[in-house]
Symmetry: none
Subunit: 217 residues, 4 copies
DNA sequence: TCTTAACCGAGACGGTACGTCCGGTCTTTTT
DNA sequence: AAAAAGACCGGACGTACCGTCTCGGTTAAGA
């Protein structure tokens, strides 16, 4: 069951590379990470990297996957409204402040220039995120809180799209006002578009700032 | 009184550089564009580029701004619903198929790795796009089609966010179904989330595929 | 005395350039002197330099000529032996320690790579130096201290050749022992080749070290 | 135990670089030789040159050393007079017409601007040349043709100095008349300064007849 | 037990592009 | 008309990484 060589690849080297890549992205930013730098930091030969990965983004996809193992299950609060809000708080935390969120943003950015990376993200990374995003909706459907013919993926796009838009494009923080509007819009069937002061909907303390300062957009 | 030199910079060189940059992005893709390549294509010395721009993204921001001069005014159809739909069709066309849309996607991607570029985009590029996105809403507010206390920017995020999300992140085409849902959601105060078959709302012929094939995210 | 233009060339600019060139060679060494540097130091436009000189060596030839105006006349000591020795002491001082000697060495060095400069040196600079080198011999001939058919230029080569050789090629200091040998060789018709200890001939205090340290050859 | 890498540098690349450098100096002259040009001609990456050499002169010193491997031994003619003349003929040939002589002249010239190169020449190149120049003198001393206390290095300077002076400084050809004078001067203990026709010493084909000459002092 | 094949570290190699410097030419404005 | 200013094209500089390629050493399956 090994891979055609005598003693297989070195798990030590693999982990050292993924760890080094993660650390370097956090320390110096994606743009300054080089394969030579990863190799040096990991104490590994360049050839060992090229033997198992095709590019630095390839490494980062693996590193991102390794980070995502901690798939914590969302608690079931019993109502669509609160379930969704809890999930969105978690999503914002991931996108804006977590280390793996920084990797995700870097990969999403790089995918704009690299069709191959884009394909790999769509095939391997996004489905997992989408599955999580669907959870509150699927539970709601099971409870009968959604119309039978609701297109859940379409609803998910409408809810998470504005969040990604703010994080990746405008760089504005995702405010509680936006989350309120999204949640009540999905729950009550219409977007909540009054000013924040006029919104008596459920509130949260989320509105966290981006950790790294200006590197969203 | 003058600006330190006697005859200032060469407009010829400036235009040649912006044109060359635009062309090269369209021909070989952002990732393969180099400053040396731009200089060669423009028939300009590298030093001339470095004298006036700091990086290739700096050039592209200028090139994008030059392209955007053709600020076509949106026709006023008389109703929020149709105004918004026309604008979104135009937005999708810009993001998915136009050359300057390709430049925009590249810049948005690069901004994930480059805080300085991100800041410049937020300061110079996005406000212009936002102004256009607001037009249908502002007209509707003037007509009394929106509540007096509506937060237009929040509404804009909810409508254009999912479109950018699909273009930049999932790479899925922006379907008429999504546009229908966004328009009717904004117009009638709730997202339209039934399956496409069950949605008899206003349709359009928009749902064009991305030109370049797989290069979305 | 000017050249047929309205205002003639600026003597101010000419002197500033020559002075700047001289200073820069003394301060940073010939190799690091650039035309841009000379222009900046002289407070002169680059074009002004290119209008009047063809290269930085061209400037230095002029600067060297300007320095050489102080053609001090050699005192006539009444005897070939002492005349020659006094002249050689002066020659060594020029070559090894003077600022204009540094310029001369730089030009002689550059002439190895630049035939045009070599030609100019042979046409304009060397004849003046040769004329000075001949003075002791011509006086001696006039006094009848030399055979009537002596080839003075050949004798000069034999006397100054070893001095230039040490300064330009070996980089060794020109010792009193060498000067003694050259003088007595020329005067008595044979080179003095005994060891320094065994040479009771006329001595001098010349043997100065090179100022700049190791920059001879 | 080993030196940090396992297979060391490429001898192929080293030889290609030295050969290319030699060829280029011969073809286009030292001043026009560039490291990029050498790299291109040698089919080698620039970085490979910078890994092993510090400058183009550093390459040429190596190339000169490689050329000098063909240390042909001087034939022993049995007499100082003829030995020395044969050696000087060889020396003039080297300095004036050989390819490696062109490299030597270029290095000697550059050394006027570059103390580091000057030091390297004095340490590595000149001692080998000096050793060859001493051969006729050392043989003569062994035969008893020179005084026991003769300072051979001083004699060498007196003999080869004028030759280098003509080659490097005045640019005049080294005539048989000069060589005759140097040889007979060294052999008979005095410089031969009469016109060639009046010189009864070893002859060359040159001389133009003038009046006969007597003996000087 | 002894080969031996695949892995590993190290790092030299041919390349490409970087960002800087300077050479020479040009154009504009001032003196 | 010459000078100051400085932008311009060209091209070499020396550096940083790219991705490929030996090397010599190590390790574990299989003879």
């Amino acid at each position: 069951m090994h891979r055609g060589n005598r003693h297989g690849r070195s798990e030590t080297a693999r982990e050292a590379v993924l760890q080094a890549a993660d650390d370097l992205v956090a320390e110096i930013g994606y743009a300054k990470v080089t394969i030579e730098g990863i190799a040096a930091r990991a104490g590994v030969a360049k050839q060992t990297i090229y033997r198992w990965w095709r590019s630095k983004t390839d490494i980062l996809v693996d590193a991102f996957a390794a980070d995502s193992v901690q798939e914590l299950t969302l608690p079931d609060t019993g109502a669509f409204h609160t379930d969704l809000r809890a999930h969105l708080d978690e999503l914002v935390r991931f996108l804006e402040v977590s280390d793996s969120g920084a990797v995700f943003r870097a990969l999403a950015g790089q995918a704009q220039h690299d069709p191959e990376l884009a394909a790999r993200l769509r095939a391997e990374v996004l489905p997992r995120l989408r599955a999580r995003d669907r959870v509150p909706f699927d539970r709601a459907a099971a409870r009968g809180e959604l119309p039978a013919d609701a297109d859940v993926d379409l609803l998910v796009d409408q809810v998470v799209g504005p969040i990604h838009f703010r994080v990746l494009v405008t760089g504005e923080p995702v405010t509680p006002a936006l989350l309120d509007a999204l949640v009540t819009g999905a729950a009550r069937g219409r977007p909540e578009a009054r000013t924040a002061a006029g919104t008596p909907g459920p509130r949260s303390g989320t509105g966290v700032g981006r950790s790294g300062g200006g590197e969203g957009c």
